[in-house]
Symmetry: C2
Subunit: 221 residues, 2 copies
DNA sequence: TCAAAAGTGTTGCTCATACACCCATGA
DNA sequence: TCATGGGTGTATGAGCAACACTTTTGA
């Protein structure tokens, strides 16, 4: 992709920075909030072999959003995912290779996501946010901000929906809230509140897992 | 400043974009929410003579935050102001001169601000947000997002403090809330709520304006 | 009948809203 | 005494938190 013709009329001398995106991609699996990490593979990079958020350079003919979709697909085999812009990090030495300004995004996917690992061009792993290694670049800082934002938004929006598969039980939804906030909630109060919001639809069908009473299945409206 | 040596080890061919900041600077004056606009002065620019948010290019040796401080000071004569990052706009054709990615900031100042007009290198004006002209570039979109964010944050944070002078009356503070939200509030309920937050301190002094009962002066803790 | 998760109501508290009159001042 | 904005209390309803037992199922 670097062979694209540079037909940008902006003078070269003021184009000092490379523009990148970094994607903090979350899921909830087995009651744990997890984040997608990719192994740094570029040579001449003191962080080679470290774990980092998936990301890369924005190209001349795409927006930051388009770069996010492309990089998630190419590097991690993840497609059609919910995303929102998080923050832009412009510290001068955040990348030891030179001035790189990064627009960070949060992305959410459901725990049963279909990651096309055949397409993924980077070694990736899902790590619980409670036990992360030291990350490359300023990615520790980025994920700190991302978790803070995610915890705050799950309280007053319905973003939890992007963690859920099409159909789910109320217990599963509750586990997602608890995994994100890190705190347990009362089952009756949770169900009352979430039903009162009017964002769920009862499918009138049930699912049975193991030796127990079947649970009602819901979808988001 | 463009004469700075380009000692960036990032290869020239991936540095396609210019990085800019745009600053949506608000104040409340005479009960109206106003925004600072600067007249576009660059030649070879189809927007020359239009009004736009104050902004400019980020330089190689400064962060976006530092660029905001520098540009507000140089172009508008405004110093030491509260600011927070709003959103990064990366649409490909947002600037007709070429690919410019802009990190937008919100800045707030009090209505009695001391703008050093002698230093200001750009013609500026404060405009009521209710009667804005069509702005240059994508600045209509930027201010739409900025106002949305400001209205939302004034409801659950204490950012209103940055609109106030050191000391102020409760009526003045209420006017700021009303100017930002665009809606009137009940005086008794407003005072009860704001006092209950515990963020104000009564100076035990009063101020008298015109022919009326003096009002108590408060400060933010 | 046991294990395991599903499902269900009531009470008290806190907080937001609606609403109207007297006070202090200088002209 | 009048005009102007400053300053105050109460009642009602909504929404949230605390709290424990019964139901359904298959082994």
């Amino acid at each position: 992709m670097k062979d694209k013709k540079d037909n940008n009329p902006i003078p070269q001398e003021i184009r000092f920075a490379a523009l990148a995106v970094d994607i903090v991609c979350f899921r909830v699996a087995d009651g744990d909030l997890e984040v997608l990490l990719g192994k740094v593979a570029t040579d001449n990079n003191k962080y080679k072999g470290w774990w980092a958020h998936v990301g890369g350079l924005v190209q001349i003919d795409e927006t930051a959003e388009q770069a996010v979709d492309r990089l998630l697909s190419d590097k991690a085999g993840i497609n059609k995912i919910y995303k929102e812009q998080l923050y832009t990090f412009s510290a001068i030495n955040r990348d030891p290779r030179g001035r790189v300004v990064s627009v960070a995004y949060i992305a959410l996917t459901d725990g049963t996501n279909t990651q096309d690992l055949a397409k993924a061009r980077v070694e990736t792993v899902w790590k619980r946010v409670g036990s992360l290694p030291k990350l490359a670049y300023d990615h520790d800082e980025i994920i700190r901000v991302a978790i803070e934002r995610l915890r705050s938004k799950i309280m007053y929006t319905d973003i939890a929906r992007y963690f859920m598969p099409k159909e789910f039980t109320l217990s599963e939804l509750q586990k997602v809230y608890e995994a994100v906030t890190g705190e347990g909630v009362d089952k009756r109060n949770f169900r009352k509140r979430i039903i009162a919001l009017g964002i769920l639809k009862d499918t009138r069908r049930t699912i049975k897992k193991g030796v127990m009473r079947p649970a009602s299945l819901y979808t988001f409206k």
